[in-house]
Structures are given as structure tokens and as C-alpha cells.
């Protein structure tokens, strides 16, 4: 029993433990690591990824994936930039940018969730297509200078907290509510783990993933706009490699890539782990080239541990059920 409890604990909270350990090491090495300004920097650097990670993790829980997030982000930013250039005004331009993201998400969702196309192929197409479209629209030129109001989105503060962090926390709280307190969390696990069963029990196995793709598109677009605001320009380089960062946080957080298993808290810790690792390595003057290697190693390590847990879980099944049976029969006879 104790072995099983340890197993459960490491599986559920192992990442949190690793995160705390990592923070402890960096704090020991650099006293300024665990200070409010540095924590704010870590959160700010990861807020945009964090926004996109929430719907992304839900998609992976359903056994799907969205690889087009970075390209949708740049497309939204570019459409926003072009709209500002043609004098449509700030509110309309922002809505256009967000609308493009939702439309792309709806397109993904329709093809994948409703018609049953392969999620990897369709969103890989989007990864190339949306960025290509962004380059075509701008012809490679970067628009810039959107005024102080738009700058608030990326650089403003609300009660002393940077706006991107506030937005990330709001999205995370909504995500946590849906995941743990509404029936949606269980439904997503059912869709990812046993789709036919979910359909048989009346769970909307097409509509849930459809709206998750729309949410992923919207979150990507919001992320793109935040970066455009921070840069004060809609550069075509926005969102490059974003899909990998999003996937790293989700998979490091222990969500099974085949769906049906995972926790949003784990994903949040995965996001922080990557953030802390890259920030800490820079602080202790490790070459930035090594940082990428370290994140890759952490991901491979997490995958190996996950495999180990699954093996151990499978091994423990007979051990667990054997003693349960005589007890069950005894209870029946006693009646």
C-alpha cells in the first residue's frame, strides 16, 4: 500500500516537487532569484504561452492537438496591424484580429471535430498556411506604432500586476473551473479515453472539441495581439516556435498525448517549470544554447517517467484486485 501511495504521490505531485527543488537550487545559487520582480518577470515571459496552454491542454486531453497556434497568433497580429494601417480604429482592429483567430479555430474544429480529419495533418497545414497567409498579407513589411492605448495590453499594469499576467490568470481560473468543477472535465477525459462510450452516453463528442478549437484559436489570437502590443509592431516573426513551447508545457505537465489522462494543475506546473528553468539558467550564467538542451532533456525525462508510471500501474493491478475479492464475498455472505 505504501508503495502505491508513493507511486500516486510522485505521479500527481512529482512535478511540483521537481519545481520546488529547481527553485531551491536557483535561490541558493542566486539570492535575487526568489524575489517579487524576478517572479513577475518569469510569469510575464510565460503569460502568452500560458493563455494558449489552457485550451491546448484540453484539446490534448480529448486526444487532439493544435499545432497552428503560433501561426494563428501571427496572422491575428498582422490582420490587426493592417486594419490599424487602413484606419479602422482600435476597437474594430482588435475585434478583427480576435475574429480571425476564432475563425481559424472554427475551421480547424469543423474539419477535425465534425468531419473527422486528422488533427496533426490539418493543424500542421495551419502551421504553414496561417503564417504564409500572414506573410502574404504584409508582403513581409512590419506595421508599427499603434498608440499608447493598445500598448496597455502588453505593457500596462492592473493594480500593479502586468496586464498579460492578469489575462493569463483569468484564463487559467476559467480553465480550472471547467476542468475540475464543471462536468466538462470528465467529459473531456471520456472523449479522449473512450470516445465511443462517451458518444453512447450522450456526451457531445463533436461539439466539445469543436469549441475547444475555437477557444484555442481565440487564445492564440489574444496571445498574438499581446506580443504585438509589447513590440508595438506586428512582425511576421511573432509566434515562431510557439506550438513547441505550448506542447512542452502540456506534456511536461503529464497530460497523455493520446488523451484521456492529465491535470491542468500539472500543466500549470509544467509551464512554470520551463519558465523557472530558462530564467534560472540565464541567472547562473549558463549559455542560452544550453537552455534549449535542458528543456529538451526535461521533456524526455518526463516522458520516461510517465512510461515508468504506466508500467508500474499495470503491474499493480493484480496486486490490488486479488485481496479485494474475498472481502467482497465475505460481505455478501454476511448479509
Amino acid at each position: 500500500m505504501t508503495r502505491q501511495q508513493i507511486l500516486c504521490w510522485t505521479q500527481r505531485d512529482g512535478l511540483l516537487f521537481a519545481l520546488v527543488l529547481l527553485v531551491a537550487i536557483f535561490t541558493f545559487a542566486r539570492s535575487r532569484f526568489l524575489t517579487v520582480p524576478n517572479i513577475t518577470v518569469i510569469l510575464l515571459q510565460n503569460a502568452v504561452i500560458g493563455l494558449i496552454v489552457v485550451p491546448g491542454a484540453m484539446l490534448i486531453l480529448c486526444g487532439l492537438v493544435d499545432l497552428s497556434v503560433g501561426s494563428v497568433a501571427v496572422l491575428a497580429a498582422v490582420v490587426f496591424g493592417q486594419a490599424m494601417e487602413s484606419g479602422l480604429g482600435l476597437p474594430v482592429s482588435v475585434l478583427l484580429g480576435l475574429g480571425v483567430g476564432m475563425a481559424w479555430g472554427a475551421f480547424n474544429g469543423y474539419l477535425i471535430a465534425i468531419l473527422g480529419f486528422s488533427p496533426i495533418i490539418i493543424t500542421l497545414g495551419g502551421l504553414a498556411g496561417a503564417r504564409g497567409l500572414a506573410e502574404f498579407v504584409t508582403q513581409g513589411y512590419t506595421t508599427y506604432g499603434y498608440g499608447p492605448e493598445f500598448a496597455l495590453l502588453g505593457n500596462g499594469k492592473l493594480l500593479g500586476v502586468p496586464v498579460p499576467i492578469v489575462l493569463f490568470v483569468i484564463v487559467l481560473l476559467v480553465g480550472l473551473h471547467l476542468w475540475y468543477r464543471s462536468p466538462l472535465g470528465r467529459h473531456m477525459i471520456a472523449i479522449g479515453g473512450a470516445k465511443d462510450t462517451a458518444a453512447e452516453l450522450g456526451i457531445p463528442v463533436k461539439l466539445v472539441p469543436f469549441w475547444l478549437y475555437v477557444a484555442s484559436g481565440l487564445a492564440s489570437a489574444l496571445g498574438g495581439l499581446i506580443v504585438a502590443s509589447q513590440l508595438d509592431g506586428a512582425a511576421v516573426t511573432i509566434g515562431t516556435g510557439m506550438e513547441l513551447e505550448v506542447l512542452t508545457a502540456i506534456l511536461l505537465g503529464g497530460v497523455s498525448f493520446t488523451g484521456g489522462r492529465g491535470s491542468l494543475f500539472g500543466v500549470f506546473f509544467g509551464l512554470l517549470f520551463v519558465g523557472v528553468l530558462s530564467n534560472g539558467l540565464i541567472q547562473i550564467n549558463v549559455s542560452p544554447y544550453v537552455e534549449q538542451v535542458a528543456i529538451g532533456a526535461a521533456l524526455c525525462g518526463a516522458a520516461a517517467l510517465d512510461m515508468l508510471y504506466q508500467r508500474l500501474e499495470r503491474l499493480q493491478v493484480p496486486v490490488e484486485t486479488e485481496p479485494a475479492e474475498p472481502v467482497a464475498q465475505g460481505a455478501g455472505e454476511a448479509r
Partner: protein, 263 residues
């Protein structure tokens, strides 16, 4: 048994027929199922058991004939219709999600919500769901591990019990079990059969479809034998021996005289 006969049938099939092209899978089968009774539905492969089961489950529409629940004629357009009318069918696939625990599976797709504004913001009433399952454990003496155990960690028999318990906890008074003991070991089978006996004492009507003569003879009060789509026998289990049953199923005996069936 005579007491059961005086009661009104909770589920009544009247002259059900179904053909697939030239194949008459089920030919004019009538059957009454009473509360607190376990009826064994047996037959060789191709006897029409599955077709009859699916008609009761609502996944196949009969070509002709009627299905009555509590004396009311019902049209089963889908599995949901049958479930709504109170007929729950547990297929061999069990419709359980391994990644969810027992409570989550039992309430999957029908989660209880706390009162609140709009469906999007309402939260699940986890405490009530757990309490309801715990009460079910006590009422039926379910031999299952803790209610929070993931279904993926349960044995085959335990999973079967969870699937049947879901039907009963949702208030179904008619439970159709499609081969519940197939591919189970001795202990596992015992778990399922003793649960079926529990159901009988709680006044649930059980249709038990099986290939296994021993299991049918162990739990069934009444047995209905199908052969080539027709009902060839319907009577008390106690009037038959295993040999008689096999003879009926294989067609070695075409029918038993009423005198022998009642005596």
C-alpha cells in the same frame, strides 16, 4: 412464482419480429417480464438473442410487434428512448471509461449540478454524487473497492458490477444484461451472479442473456429458449434439467408438454 405471475409485467414484448433481408432473425416472439424476477434468455448462436436484446435496448426497431413498459406501448427510436422508459441494457462493451473513477463513471453524462445561474457556471455536486453511490453500495452490498477507485484498476467482474449498478442506481427497474459472465473467471462470475441475486430481492426485473447453462440455472427463475428466431420454451427454470435446456437449444427436443413443464 405464482405471486410474480399475478403482478403486471413491467416489460412486455408482443409478437416482435425482425428480418434482415431474407433472414428472419426474430419471428413473432412474445415475452412478459415481471418485477423481482430473473429471466434467462438462452439460445444457440443465431437463435435471435442479440436481435431481441437490441430491440429491447432501442438500437434496432422491430418490423412488427409492440414493446410495452408498465402496460404502456413504447416506441424505442434510440437507446436514449429505451433508457428514458426505464429499460437499461448493459452490453458487453460496458460503456465505462477506464480513466475515470467509479462515481465519475456512474454519473458520466448525467452529472448532478448545484443550483446556480446558467449551465456554464454551475458546478457539480460532487458530495451528493458520492453519497448516492455510497448508499447504493450499502443497499446492494456491492463487493467493490472504494468509490474513488479508477475503473481502469478494476477486474472484469468488478467492471461488470459497476456497469449494472449504474443502471440500477439510475432507477431502472428493468435491466437487460448481455452475456455478463462471458470471459470472466470463477470468482469474478460469482461476484456478478451474487449481484444479480441482490437485484431480484430489490424488485428489479432482470433479463439475463447467456450461453452458459450453469450460470442461467444458478440465477434464473424462468427461462426463455430461442431457436432459429422462435421462442421454443418459456417456463420455470426448476422444471428443466440442463440436458433438457441443451436439447431445446439445439432442437433435439422441439417442446415440452405443459404437464412436464409445470411438474
Amino acid at each position: 412464482m405464482s405471486a410474480a405471475e399475478e403482478k403486471r409485467a413491467v416489460l412486455e414484448l408482443r409478437g416482435l419480429s425482425k428480418s434482415f433481408g431474407p433472414v428472419h432473425a426474430v419471428k413473432s416472439v412474445s415475452l412478459g417480464i415481471y418485477p423481482g424476477e430473473v429471466i434467462g434468455l438462452v439460445g444457440d448462436n443465431g437463435a435471435g438473442k442479440s436481435t431481441l436484446t437490441r430491440m429491447m435496448a432501442g438500437t434496432i426497431r422491430p418490423d412488427s410487434g409492440e414493446i410495452l413498459v408498465d402496460g404502456e406501448p413504447q416506441e424505442f427510436g434510440s437507446a436514449q428512448d429505451a433508457r428514458r422508459a426505464g429499460v437499461e441494457t448493459v452490453f458487453q462493451t460496458l460503456a465505462l471509461v477506464p480513466g475515470l473513477d467509479i462515481v465519475e463513471n456512474i454519473f458520466l453524462g448525467r452529472e448532478l449540478l448545484k443550483p446556480g445561474l446558467g449551465n456554464a457556471t454551475r458546478t457539480m455536486d460532487v458530495a451528493t454524487m458520492r453519497r448516492r453511490v455510497q448508499e447504493g453500495y450499502e443497499r446492494f452490498g456491492l463487493g467493490l473497492p472504494d468509490i474513488r477507485t479508477k475503473v481502469g484498476g478494476l477486474s472484469g467482474g468488478q467492471r461488470q458490477v459497476v456497469a449494472i449498478a449504474r443502471a440500477v442506481l439510475w432507477g431502472s427497474r428493468i435491466v437487460v444484461l448481455d452475456e455478463p459472465t462471458a470471459a470472466l473467471g470463477v470468482k469474478q462470475t460469482e461476484l456478478v451472479l451474487s449481484f444479480i441475486e441482490q437485484l431480484r430481492s430489490h424488485n428489479v426485473a432482470v433479463v439475463f442473456i447467456s450461453h452458459n447453462m450453469q450460470h442461467v440455472m444458478r440465477v434464473a427463475d424462468r427461462v426463455c429458449v430461442l431457436r432459429l428466431g422462435r421462442k421454443v420454451f418459456d417456463g420455470e427454470m426448476s422444471s428443466l434439467t440442463g440436458t433438457d435446456l441443451v436439447a431445446l437449444m439445439t432442437g433435439a427436443a422441439t417442446s415440452f408438454s405443459p404437464a412436464r413443464a409445470t411438474g
